[in-house]
Symmetry: C2
Subunit: 133 residues, 2 copies
């Protein structure tokens, strides 16, 4: 009864990229990875739950920061190997740098230029030693 | 003088995910992959040039279909391992199925449901034997 999960073409590590987009503004907030369990939990709980490759465990987005992503819609692409999540970003901050979006650098004149402000000091968001939530 | 390319954290295969978003509507059209050469060419030519993993060669999006993506902006994320492209999608069709976006399936009632129309028959877009451009 979980055919929808079987339709996904997981990569060699059992993961797919998951793109989180603000459901109101359309801004792309971040891209992370999901495994079968995290996608199943995301659909069940209607909040974004990723797989942290660096920590090798489930990452309940916002578990420490409070910056939970409430899921409004899940989409799958033609090759069944990429997910798009329409989310409501609680706190208005998706990035661990304290910015709205992780995509805060624009290519200009041959360089990546930071164009978005830090909305909240990461030290005020996270406890010591847990910068990536 | 290509420091901006050295800042990218390429994966073990020398690739990064590249997300194409409609620069006017914000709709996410597709996600593909880029290597160093394809990203350099994308920036130089202001059109999306991906790396086709299945064919193992550069993929000048629209080379056969005419559905070129003109690049308006390139962004890089905090971890320097994902690119977002703001594009103008010529022909209004990004997907090889003939749809506007590759993300045409929505999760509903435990299943992936096709919700977007085919705008043009793929047979009319591609020549025989070249379905993925």
């Amino acid at each position: 009864m979980q055919d929808w999960l079987d339709e996904i073409h997981w990569n060699a590590d059992g993961l797919v990229p998951a793109i989180a987009q603000d459901y109101k503004t359309g801004r792309i907030l971040m891209m992370a990875w999901m495994n079968r369990e995290s996608l199943a939990l995301t659909a069940r709980e209607n909040r974004a739950i990723y797989w942290s490759r660096s920590r090798g465990k489930l990452w309940r987005k916002g578990e420490e920061s409070g910056h939970v992503q409430k899921v409004h819609e899940l989409r799958l692409d033609c090759d069944a190997d990429v997910i798009v999540l329409q989310v409501e970003q609680l706190g208005g901050i998706a990035c661990h740098t304290g910015r709205e979006s992780c995509f805060y650098r624009v290519f200009e004149d041959g360089a990546w230029k930071v164009v978005d402000p830090i909305l909240k000091d990461p030290d005020a968001i996270y406890h010591a030693g847990h910068r990536h939530e």
